[in-house]
Amino acid sequence: MAYRIQRIPSAPPSVALAARGLAIVLALVTAGIVLAALGFNPLALGWQVLRTTFGSSYGLEDVGLLVIPLIFTGLAVAVGQKIGAQNIGAEGQFYAGAFAATGVALFVPGPMAVILPLMFVAGAIGGAIWILIPTLARAYADVNELITTLLLNFVATLLVYWVATGPWLDPSGRALATTARLPHEVPEFWGIVHWGLPVAVVVVLLVGALFAFTRWGYEVRIAGSNPQAARYAGMPFRRHLIMVMLLSGAIAGLAGMFEVAGTVHRLQGGISNNFGYLGIMVAVLARASPIGVLPAAALMAIILNSGIVLQTQGITVSTVLAITGLILFYTAIGDELARYRIVRA
């Protein structure tokens, strides 16, 4: 009796989900074998990860805090993909949003009830401005946004480093690398987890609804799938492209705003912690679905937090990064394999 493997165009959701689960299990098994070879006890480590991540408020709160920027940056990338734009620049827009929000917090006097919303708006505008040039270049000169957004990441990274160590350096004297602590903070509602989390979820739901239940969303779907068809149907492709890319940048900017105003409380170089790039992974895991960003970001946050746990167990950062990469790699393979099935020949 022979069996053959057959590729199907798209996997049924249950199979896709099972493949994901299997991929994670396999990745963990592989990681376990590697760790055992390095002289660690993988079962004890696994237990430690589970216990401290889900068994303590420390772990749950850490995941809750980590997931906030991941939701925003993942959503930003996913939104861009809706119209076929590859926003690799969420990292730069994150910095721009954090920078703009910090500027408001430090230099605009006023009560928190006014300043926090103002910071929110500034963060969104900062992110949108940071993607403005790539957007216009793509819309009017057909310059590939992949490269332009990526290059601006480096500019933003250095700009924030410079401003935090130079003009906006903490005026109290001795700090060499951060601004002063922001006078306003996004309040926390559960341990260290601040209100950025519910806001992120609401933004995801709003964006999801925008694409699913509005005319505009339908037009963007068509335009993203086949710009030619959008032109054929008389849809303003260019206008949609510009709006979607700016929306993508604004959402990434919000990630920066909440990170600086809710988590770090000071602007400093390196504040993005690579959340912009991780957002690309989140969007891939979510298959560019806005709602899918929520579980994907949660998974990513759990993986990142597990990495912290492993570090305290004496495993080096590079090993942790390798394991993280392994899980994502297996997940990607699992996604692809879910589209195959074995049939009897």
Partner: protein, 533 residues
């Protein structure tokens, strides 16, 4: 080293020695998609030296069967036997290694690459160190050896459809294919190009190779095939010697009953009379964005209740004409009057709102978003009006309901409206687009090659719909390369050549030879009349 055999003088027919195994044998092939039996229990033998035609209605499973043979899909049951040995192909690369190559309904060439680059792409024989000159020389040698004329340095995007197809065929043949599968190759070819293709195919099989040829054009099938296999509903109904078949017998096999081809000539009793001009084009000029003039002072009048046929060899401005009169392309100069209003600067949305439907020449590239659902694609023209949208929102349930209506009217059975539209068979995509466009074509329908990819029955139905629209007072612009079709359906025929109208004739008085001459660039009697209406 380049190896394909040189085109030596060969006998006109290759007769395999008695007892030769079939070059390809399919046994009991089945393929199921959710809710669809694409193939079931299909047997097929192809002998060396044979051109084997594959016939069947839209959605009968022809493309699927060939995709199985070339390793794109894996069969759910059955077996593939090559030269007497069972084989299974995990991918087209494995199939081509076994000598089986396919040219698809939709070409898979890289538009920005040159012919030579496309030929060598993903080919194990490609030399490691390559320069453009080396690739082009190799390509030229291969082309010459295989008797297929191509320009190795040309970019694919600059080539005509016929030339692109030749590149596809060359690509397959250079990989030493012994079985060449062609999925509706002539749908996109001019008659002249088709004949050139047939010559090449005859040459190819005369060397002991085989061709599997999918087509909806029964006359072609009768002309070039040796045997013909007919699929219906995914099952094989017959394999016949072509010599013993007629168009009617083949049509009967395909459909399972007698089909009566209605005669469209003459206007029905209740038809609206030919009325006032709906759309007037005055001295339209346009270029293709790279400086080539594609419409060169074109003038036309579309009248309500009239089918205006456009004859001409493809590539003489027909595509640009359809784009200009649907608002997808702006003319460089000239005027477009719609009901007397100036639409010269109007966009696609305004034309659609006015009631212009458009069946585009390349449905997959401009008429559909292939990766989106059937529902999303079916509502492309009506998503912005009630009940789908009352301004801001988009009602998914109403969209699905509308999609169901359209699919039903187009007689396309859809198991799942959420599946990507590219999963539909080529003909069914075309039917869907056509119905969608007819719904909004309250004033004008622009139909570019609307019968492309349709089976005999569906073509007949399509023609009937066009006539119905005309009878309701819609102006129909009907572009076709088939004179017979044009003569059958049109009230008047305009002939295009090099972006200009060479003349407009009343079908009643038309004479095929004159039209043929005009298609070759000769003006009708004199210039003044040629420009006219």
């Amino acid at each position: 080293m380049i190896a394909p055999e040189p085109p030596v003088p060969v006998p006109t027919r290759f007769v395999p020695p008695p007892g030769t195994a079939p070059i390809v044998q399919l046994r009991g092939i089945a393929k199921y998609f959710p809710g669809v039996i694409a193939n079931e229990d299909v047997d097929l033998d192809v002998m060396p030296g044979e051109i084997h035609a594959l016939l069947g209605e839209n959605g009968a499973g022809k493309s699927t069967l060939m995709n199985i043979l070339t390793g794109i899909y894996q069969p759910d049951a059955g077996e593939i036997v090559i030269d007497g040995y069972p084989q299974s192909f995990a991918s087209p690369v494995e199939a081509i290694a076994a000598g089986i190559g396919m040219v698809h309904q939709h070409f898979k060439l890289v538009k920005a690459f040159t012919v030579a680059e496309n030929i060598h792409l993903g080919w194990s024989d490609t030399p490691r160190a390559v320069s453009a000159a080396v690739l082009e020389r190799r390509t030229a040698e291969l082309a010459q050896a295989l008797n297929l004329t191509v320009d190795p340095a040309a970019r694919i995007g600059e080539l005509s459809t016929g030339e692109q197809q030749r590149v596809e065929i060359l690509r397959v043949l250079t990989r030493k294919a012994r079985v060449l599968i062609l999925d509706e190759p002539t749908a996109v070819l001019t008659p002249a190009e088709a004949h050139e293709l047939f010559r090449a195919l005859k040459d190819f099989v005369a060397r002991g190779n085989a061709v599997i040829f999918i087509s909806h054009k029964l006359d072609e099938v009768l002309e070039i095939s040796d045997r013909v296999t007919v699929l219906r509903g995914g099952r094989k109904v017959a394999t016949e010697q072509t010599a013993g078949c007629t168009e009617t017998s083949l049509a009967r096999l395909m459909v399972g009953r007698e089909i009566v081809l209605s005669d469209m000539r003459g206007r029905s009793a209740g038809a609206a009379p030919i009325g006032a001009p709906v759309m007037t084009l005055e001295d339209i000029r346009a270029d293709d964005g790279q400086g080539h003039v594609v419409l060169d002072g074109l003038s036309l009048v579309l009248r309500a209740g009239e089918i205006l046929g456009i004859a001409g060899v493809a590539g003489n401005g027909q595509k640009e004409l359809t784009q200009v009169i649907t608002g997808m392309r702006q003319a460089a100069s000239g005027r477009i009057l719609v009901d007397g209003a100036d639409f010269s600067r109007a966009g696609a949305a305004e034309f659609a709102d006015f009631g212009v439907g458009h069946i585009p020449e390349d449905r997959l590239h401009s008429g559909l978003a292939p990766s989106l659902s059937i529902t999303d694609n079916a509502v492309l023209r009506e998503y912005d009006r009630p009940p789908l949208s009352g301004g801001f929102g988009f009602n998914g349930r109403a969209a699905t309901a509308l999609a169901k209506d359209i699919a039903e009217a187009a007689s396309v059975t859809v198991p799942d409206f959420g599946m990507p539209v590219r999963n539909l068979s080529g003909g069914n995509q075309q039917r869907l687009v056509a119905r969608r466009e007819m719904r909004i074509a309250s004033r004008v329908l622009v139909a570019a090659y609307p019968s492309r990819g349709l089976d005999v029955g569906a073509i007949n139905m399509m023609m009937r719909y066009l006539v119905e629209l005309r009878d309701k007072g819609v102006a129909v612009l009907f572009i076709s390369e088939e004179l017979e079709e044009l003569l059958n359906l049109s009230d008047r025929i305009a002939v295009m050549f090099h972006g200009r109208v060479m003349g407009v004739v009343d079908t009643a008085e038309a004479d095929i030879d004159t039209i043929g001459l005009m298609m070759g660039g000769k003006r009708l009697t004199d210039d003044a009349k040629g420009r006219g209406h």
